[in-house]
């Protein structure tokens, strides 16, 4: 009985400490702690992983190592693509380690879970890794920021640019689940609104290894553009086999909906040449991106993916906001982030009420082996920027969105 009474008393004490108000000014707990939660060992580790930690550390270094006279610390963890592991780590970070901001969070199931829980606990998340539009619509939160890209901006950017460039008829190879269907729908809407034509679509199950029958159908459709509404291994397999069928050589164009530079690197230029897709960052775009790209390469031995560049930029802008607000209090920092201009390697974005960071996106094309310059970028001279898609064209407008925090 005594034990029970004791544990009840402790429970009450803990309950009180949780509800106690956070101090409104200054830096809480004597330091600013930033958590990089990523996939370190699984399928997405090449996109984020250790490289994201390196990027975050570089941001802290470039910021000067301290903010408002207090040290900045980076912690990192592997969520193993499990929503429960990710949310357990995030809870512990916030409750025990007093982490002030969590970034990266690849994998949308983990991303949404962590964003929800962090917001309940008044902690800012800056998601650069997950693409789901749910982050700023159905599941939008007060402190959740979707920083880098979403599954609306990527296909829409690609489709807009390609249709305007003459790719007016489309055929889709779609991963047969919600993600693939939403990519296809978003793209179709844009293609049709620009006067393009949809020749058809074929659904391939998730994890298809043999795309030949789908590719033959796509080839037979006579469409100018084959849209790959899938991601990861599916996209890679489709591109490899499209190359074996000589689809690009025969005049059709491949459009990827979710491609990272690490995918292009592993496919090789011979296979991937001519592929067009949208990205938030390419190292060889301007001076600012080159500077970061080269510095990152010197530390990590690879050029950054857009996710890793996103982590760098998110951490840097978060620290700027903390400095401007004079505190690491989440409400004040979030308000500051909403007001300030978000510098993204030389282009300027802004963070909306639903948490979406609206910034320019870039349509890129994979270079052919002839265009490749081995003396540039340590073998990462892979892409050329074809067009800049202005932020307000690339992203869903607030009116189209369904975030309950936005007053319409």
């Amino acid at each position: 009985m005594k034990k029970l009474a004791c544990s009840l008393a402790c429970a009450a004490a803990l309950g009180l400490s949780v509800t106690a108000p956070v101090n409104a000014a200054g830096i809480s707990n004597g330091e600013v702690k930033i958590g990089v939660l990523s996939d370190m060992s699984g399928v997405y580790s090449a996109i984020g992983g250790k490289g994201s930690v390196v990027a975050a550390e570089m941001a802290v270094h470039d910021f000067g190592g301290t903010v408002l006279g207090k040290p900045i610390k980076i912690v990192s963890a592997d969520h193993q693509n499990k929503a429960d592991v990710g949310s357990a780590v995030a809870r512990e970070w916030i409750d025990k380690d007093h982490v002030d901001m969590i970034t990266d969070i690849l994998n949308s199931a983990v991303g949404i879970a962590v964003q929800k829980l962090a917001s309940e606990k008044h902690t800012i998340t800056m998601n650069t890794g997950a693409g789901s539009t749910a982050l700023t619509n159905k599941d939008c939160t007060k402190y959740g920021i979707h920083y880098l890209y979403d599954t609306y901006a990527l296909p829409v950017g690609t489709a807009t640019a390609i249709v305007k460039g003459g790719g007016t008829s489309w055929y889709f190879i779609t991963a047969d689940y919600a993600f693939g269907h939403s990519l296809q729908n978003n793209t179709e809407t844009i293609v049709k609104s620009l006067g393009g034509e949809i020749k058809g679509a074929v659904q391939a199950p998730l994890g298809t290894s043999d795309f030949s029958s789908y590719l033959i159908q796509a080839q037979g459709s006579g469409a100018k553009v084959i849209g790959l509404a899938n991601a990861g291994a599916d996209t890679i397999n489709a591109i490899k086999q499209a190359n074996e069928f000589g689809i690009v050589q025969k005049g059709q164009q491949l459009a990827g909906m979710l491609v990272f530079i690490s995918d292009v690197k592993s496919l090789g230029l011979d296979t991937a040449k001519g592929l067009q897709f949208t990205t938030g960052y390419y190292w060889d775009r301007n001076d600012a991106s080159r500077k970061f790209g080269n510095a990152f390469y010197a530390k990590f031995g690879k050029m950054p993916t857009m996710d890793q560049a996103g982590v760098y930029s998110a951490v840097l802008n978060y620290l700027k906001a903390v400095k401007a607000a004079g505190t690491d209090n989440a409400d004040a920092v979030r308000a500051e982030l909403g007001k300030m201009k978000i510098d993204f390697f030389g282009s300027v974005g802004h963070i909306r009420a639903d948490g979406l960071n609206v910034h320019d996106m870039y349509l890129v094309k994979v270079k052919s082996p002839k265009e490749f310059n081995p003396n540039v970028g340590h073998g990462w001279d892979l892409l050329k920027v074809e067009a800049t898609i202005p932020g307000d064209k690339a992203y869903m407008s607030l009116a189209q969105g369904s975030c309950k925090l936005v007053k319409k």
Partner: protein, 304 residues
Amino acid sequence: MNRIAWITVIVLGLLAPFAVYPVLMMELLCFALFACAFNLLLGYSGLLSFGHAAFFGGAAYICGYAVTAWHLGPLQGILIGTAFAGGLGLVFGVLAIRRQGIYFAMITLALAQIIFFLCLKMPFTGGEDGLQGVPRGMLFGFIDLNKPLNMYYTVFAIFMICFWLIWRAVNSPFGQVLSAIRENEARAISLGYSVERIKLLAFVLSATLAGTAGATKSIVFQTASLTDVSWHTSGEVILMTLVGGMGTLLGPVVGAFTIVGLQHELSSIGSWVTVIIGLTFIVCVLVFRRGMVGELTRLWKRSF
């Protein structure tokens, strides 16, 4: 287990959240219950199911959906999830127990993959985003589960009830018959037991308790995702059971604590998690043939 052992377990469980981070403790308990449920089948009945994630994750989705969409209380949600897993277990069981060994494992795997694809494609599961924002709610209408300790003691109570149930089942005539079937099925048949029915009962019981674990987990973490129903999870629970010691009551608990604890503790060092867990498994299989608990009990028995 004698009275002292029970009291030790209960006292340790009550004090644990003051030593270990409560959310981690809850995760450990959910997986421990999952492994115990699985052990009932593998350790005590000798049936290797490779599809237990379907019950675990299926119940997580159903419970999460019931609580989110129908605004039920957490307890009702867990009960519905559990009942769903039981029903699913009955269907799987009827189909699978007609075969033995590798065929049994393959049938359960195939059926579990069907559930995985349903969870991927059905609109209510949220696809790869998972089912998110499951409210923890109020237990019995007045205990606020958003408080970490309230949630922990609820999970601990659920765990202890289920653990007691498993202990009771194993040490009953039913449990004895299960062991008899495992050791010598032909003989059990010749003794007049309707082996298929008993196996089916064990299968359904195991599936139901796995469901309880999954449903509880979805309340704790406020989410259900595809990982819960994927075959990796089915594999992991086998790993937990083998590492801890199959056919022992505490083995799966130790195994689950080891594996999930490692996953959690190693998460900060990054990419080595899978390698270290793999090595742990290899070492356990080579050195502790009976699992950690199995080996310890043998040593204990030898020295006294």
